[in-house]
């Protein structure tokens, strides 16, 4: 059935597996069950996927209702191609550990940078942590 050919509409994406990237950086994968005019989404059998380097881990989350304004992008997952990825799936604990390590490394690097700038008498204003665009 053609719903509004040529327009961007989520109706034809219903009941298909999607990957949704949220504004806070989370990646959700789930079956899109329902939408509304604001592109609020209902995701079913949702899994939150955390990527660190070449590894990823899935955390099963159940049903998600996502407010439309928080979605950065979403795309349908080709079920056939889903399995052939160079990425390696690991357990949840492991990926969370990896994530923590990565965050720490980032913080360290940031600290060094700020220190270096301070030494030279420069300062970069910190971005507002709420809106990370």
């Amino acid at each position: 059935m053609n719903y509004m050919p040529g327009t961007a509409s989520l109706i034809e994406d219903i009941d298909k597996k999607h990957l949704v990237l949220l504004r806070d950086g989370r990646t959700l994968i789930g079956f899109l069950r329902s939408i509304d005019q604001f592109a609020n989404l209902v995701l079913h059998q949702t899994v939150e996927r955390i990527h660190v380097g070449k590894k990823y881990g899935d955390i099963p989350r159940g049903i998600f209702v996502v407010r439309g304004e928080n979605v950065v992008l979403l795309g349908e997952i080709d079920l056939e191609k889903e399995s052939d990825t160079p990425l390696q799936q690991v357990s949840i604990e492991e990926i969370l550990e990896e994530q923590r390590v990565e965050q720490q490394a980032k913080l360290e690097a940031e600290k060094l940078k700020v220190q270096a700038l301070k030494d030279r008498g420069l300062s970069i204003p910190r971005a507002d942590t709420l809106d990370e665009y």
Binding site: M1, N2, P5, G6, S9, I11, D15, L79
Partner: protein, 771 residues
């Protein structure tokens, strides 16, 4: 406040009668009033009362069967007549579907009896009526305190059986309890904002400029998806008055929705989408339309059968009753329902001819994409199992137990909202790039078709949707019987809040920089104004095509007038004075936008004026070149200049050349140096223009031998000077012209000898090989 120790203290001796009256009143007080003095006044916990009843229930299972058969009232007396007779009260109580007050159910639940109920906890909440039935028996036998809780029991949903295969979303929402005593808000059958479950007959409101999604009814699913040849747009359908539907009484007896089969029969094979019904809940709420649609459908459909179009695809066409038959909708109609739209595919000519919604190209693109996807899928699996992937995908969907949680009508509802958002009174204003892009595509494909002899694609005409711009005369709010009018300031009726007085500063106070800045700002403003004029003028062609015959002369006049204004803006019209300075124009040309604008305006100007512009540019070219150093936008002028050149006579070209090279008026006195020319030559635009002018001159000379000899001689003179200058200027870094005309060698060969010709060639790099 006044305390009397005894009656004697009361100062109102005169009012003994009153006191007696009081005494009489005392006597009149019903000492036997149960509620006040008797057992009714006993602060009996109703919960305990219920518990008592539960015990009785266990003892009287027999009475249950007797009571179940009793009359069932749909309606409950919400006002709750407080009758003394409990039995009467109970008999009035709603039995079957009405006991959903959670308070009641909680209480009812506390009894052990309820746990014997089949099913889950859920079912026990909703099965209160059975409990109640059982309660009634013992209650009748026993007097109970006023159980107001039970009095406003509400209709209950039918008990749920095993629900494995049931569509969960089919479950209707429970009715909200209302308390007549406390005064709960009016029962809204459906919370605000829920998508409708079923369709109501759209009570058509013509003034649907701001449709509210709440009131939007999703259309029926098209059982026969049709190709996208749809001429109708939902938008235009909205606007056709629909009073024949409105005026129709609402017989509740008609079933809300026609089955597809019925519809198919009605339509006789034509594909239609009758409007859908309101959610069942809406049907019960007064003010909302009931289920009249089905009754009306046959009428409409029969009326329409003769006018059926080939079915459109999943495009939810909105439509309404035939326009000629409809007077504007009556005002009494409840405004609440808002833009209820029916879906019926109908013939385009019935509606405004210049309306549609989406470009047919869209359909093609989408089809193509779908085809590609399908092909891809097929290819993935190889030739052997062509359909297997798709079928496996469909299998997947089939096996997916959670599929179709979102009902078709809900999908339609969403797409309907999206379509309504596309409504536009002026698509070229709202969606300019969209319209232009698809127009271009169409032209391309048309061109291709003309060239190639492939199979002719079906030409779907583009019909742009246009919602009528309904002019609302704003009338301020008036109340009946009130004195005077409200003075309320709203968006339609703005009121001046601040008294802002415009004061212009005197020129003396300002510093030089400020003056310069102001002048620049003024120039910017002029550019903006002229640009608007330009856009309008460019748009005239399209408007011309869309307009009627009578309007066209007026359009042309407007256009001419605008062109004149543009020119005046450019050159700086001084009141009552001749234009003596180029300053205004030069200022405009110093700004990048100004240059681009002039390039766009030039084709519209009459030749004289255009030449004037060119000459002015050329006169001030070195200055402009200097100013253009950063923007480098001057070359954009080349194209319109060259176009113009080809229309110019020899005289003009001669003059132009003179100006361009800053040649002295007479050949006798050679100027010491020619920085003007040097600057021109070093600039891409300048050099290109020069070459173009030369080339044009040459063309004129060679082509028109019978030309006036004076012109010829003038040209020759100028050329001599030109060549002399060119030879004279040092071989500085020359710019690279946009294009080198081929006839320059022959041009120069006429005026200079061999040696100098070679010099010129090398200097100007006229020979291709040197580059």
């Amino acid at each position: 406040m006044f305390r009397y120790e005894s009656l004697e203290d009361c100062p109102l001796d005169e009012d003994e009668d009153a006191f007696q009256g009081l005494g009489e009143e005392d006597e009149e007080i019903d000492q036997f009033n149960d509620d006040t003095f008797g057992s009714g006044a006993v602060d009996d916990d109703w919960q305990e009362a219920h518990e008592r009843l539960a015990e009785l229930e266990e003892k009287l299972p027999v009475t249950v069967n007797e009571q179940t058969g009793n009359g069932e009232r749909d309606e409950i007396d919400l006002l709750g007549d407080h009758e003394e007779n409990l039995a009467e009260r109970l008999s009035k109580m709603v039995i079957e579907n009405e006991l959903e007050d959670p308070a009641i159910m909680r209480a009812v639940q506390t009894r052990p009896v309820l746990q014997s109920q089949p099913g889950s906890l859920n079912s026990s909440i909703w099965d209160g009526s059975e409990v109640l039935r059982r309660i009634r028996g013992p209650l009748l036998a026993q007097e109970m305190p006023a159980v107001s809780v039970l009095e406003y029991a509400l209709p209950q949903r039918p008990p749920q059986g095993p629900e494995d295969d049931r569509d969960l979303s089919e479950r209707a929402l429970p009715r909200r309890s209302t308390s007549p005593i406390i005064g709960s808000p009016p029962v809204r059958a459906v919370p605000i904002g829920t998508p409708p479950k079923q369709m109501a007959v759209p009570s058509f409101n013509q003034q649907i400029l701001c449709p509210k999604p709440v009131h939007v009814r999703p259309p029926m699913p098209p059982r026969y998806p049709a190709p996208y040849g749809e001429r109708m747009s939902p938008n235009q359908l909205c606007n056709v008055p629909n009073s024949s539907l409105l005026g129709h009484p609402f017989p509740p007896s008609v079933p809300p929705v026609l089955s597809p089969l019925q519809r198919a029969q009605l339509l006789g094979g034509a594909q239609l989408q009758p409007g859908r019904m309101s959610p069942s809940q809406f049907a019960r709420v007064p003010g909302f339309v009931g289920s009249p649609l089905a009754a009306m459908n046959p009428k409409l459909l029969q009326g329409r059968v003769g006018q059926m179009l080939p079915p459109a695809p999943g495009f939810r066409a909105f439509f309404s009753a035939p326009p000629p038959a409809t007077p504007p909708p009556p005002q009494q109609h409840p405004p609440g329902p808002g833009p209820h739209l029916q879906n019926l595919r109908s013939q385009a000519p019935m509606f405004r001819p210049d309306t549609t919604h989406l470009h047919p190209q869209h359909r093609r693109l989408l089809h193509q994409r779908q085809q590609q996807n399908r092909n891809q899928h097929r290819n993935l699996n190889g030739a052997g199992d062509r359909g297997s992937h798709r079928s496996s995908h469909q299998d997947h969907l089939r096996k997916d137990p959670y599929a179709n949680l979102m009902l078709q009508r809900e999908k339609d509802w969403v797409s309907k909202i999206q379509m309504m958002q596309l409504q536009s009174t002026d698509p070229y204003l709202d969606d300019f790039y969209y319209q232009n892009y698809f127009e271009k595509l169409e032209k391309l494909s048309a061109a291709e078709e003309v060239q190639g002899d492939g199979p002719k694609k079906e030409r779907t005409k583009l019909i742009t949707p246009q919602v009528a711009k309904l002019e609302h005369a704003y009338k301020p709010v008036q109340f009946e019987g009130s004195l005077g009018k409200l003075t309320v300031s709203s968006v339609n009726n703005p009121r001046k809040m601040i008294d802002a007085v415009v004061t212009s500063r005197s020129e003396d106070d300002e510093t030089k920089e400020k003056q310069v800045r102001d002048k620049r700002r003024k120039t910017l403003v002029i550019i903006e104004k002229t640009y608007s004029l330009l856009l309008d003028v460019e748009d005239y062609e399209r408007r011309y095509l869309l307009s009627l015959e009578e309007e066209r002369p007026a359009l042309m006049d407007e256009r001419k007038h605008k062109i004149c204004s543009m020119y005046e803006n450019l050159r700086g019209k001084l009141p009552g004075q001749e234009r003596t300075s180029d300053d205004h124009f030069v200022q405009i040309m110093c700004i990048r936008k100004g240059k681009r604008m002039v390039a766009r305006i030039l084709p519209f100007l009459p030749t004289e004026q255009a030449v004037d512009v060119v000459l002015t540019t050329v006169r001030n070219l070195p200055f402009l070149i200097k100013k253009d150093a950063q923007d480098e936008v001057l070359p954009c002028l080349l194209s319109p200049f060259s176009l113009l050149l080809y229309h110019l006579p020899s005289v003009t070209v001669t003059g132009l050349l003179q100006q361009l090279m800053n040649l002295p008026q007479s050949a006798a006195a050679p100027a010491p140096s020619n920085p003007h020319l040097a600057a021109v030559l070093q600039n891409k635009f300048g050099l290109s223009l020069l070459l173009l002018v030369l080339s044009r001159g040459e063309d004129l000379q060679s082509s028109d031998h019978a030309a006036e000899s004076t012109e010829n001689s003038q040209w020759a003179e100028v050329m001599f000077m030109a060549t002399r200058e060119l030879l004279r200027i040092p071989q500085a870094a020359l710019a690279k012209p946009v294009s080198t005309p081929t006839n320059l060698v022959s041009l120069f060969s006429r005026y200079v000898d061999r040696q100098k010709l070679n010099l010129l060639e090398t200097k100007l790099q006229l020979v291709q090989g040197i580059r």
